[in-house]
Symmetry: C2
Subunit: 115 residues, 2 copies
DNA sequence: CTTGACCCTGACAGTGCTGTCAGACCTTAC
DNA sequence: GTAAGGTCTGACAGCACTGTCAGGGTCAAG
């Protein structure tokens, strides 16, 4: 399928589909005239990228993870540092949540001082 | 005092001090030769900006708030939409925390599926 | 064969800071 | 007067995308 259709089917903009490719996460076939030609495997990959992205991951991180992802349940094939990447990611999110919580506390105290 | 000293005293880089000014949050005097000349009030302002920034605020938001801030306890003078700005800010942070929490859940499920 | 819809590449814009560098002036002290 | 250190402005870079536009091919239908 061509890029427009894939975009419609996945909800990912054409721009981002091309960006995924530029970042090395996708490598669709090309037609004789240079059009990108995606198959179902690529569509699956896009869905995985989307899912991982929804988990707050950077494309760079996703790229490291992608080779390890085989199904979209998601299941993963044994990949050496897969667990580490995921665990690090969780830590990262925890840090951010912690920072935001502190900010919230500060803000709340400001708010209460305005009574 | 000159910018370097203020930077040392507040822990805010010279670069950022100039940036605050460019964004309209600070307006130090100038010496005859064009050097920025900060007084204690400016130093206080910088501390407030730092505090508000630590609460995750954008300089733009801080700028709206700044005229309302009088002390660094912090206390605020009655400013019309001060409460609204602060409340909006808290909502914003809550949204972000919510998003991160969802991401964490997704990630955690990935992680458990790799067992 | 023409029109419209789609695709291609490359590049610029914007976000919200933050660092760094260049080229030049000021200040202080020796 | 000269050297070191501080300051000035202006501009470019980077992050991690995401939109949009320009200029130009391609494809299918009528």
């Amino acid at each position: 399928m061509k890029i427009g259709e894939l975009s419609r089917r996945t909800g990912v903009s054409v721009r981002m589909l091309r960006y995924y490719e530029a970042e090395g996460l996708l490598a669709p076939q090309r037609t004789g005239s240079g059009y990108r030609d995606y198959g179902l495997p690529e569509e699956e990959t896009v869905r995985r990228i989307k899912m991982l992205g929804a988990a707050g991951m950077t494309l760079e991180t996703i790229q490291q993870l992608l080779p390890c992802v085989r199904n979209n349940d998601p299941e993963f094939t044994p990949c050496n540092n897969l667990r580490k990447i995921l665990a690090d990611q969780v830590s990262l999110i925890d840090e951010r949540i912690e920072t935001l919580s502190q900010s919230r506390t500060i803000l709340a105290s400001f708010l209460s001082s305005v009574n």
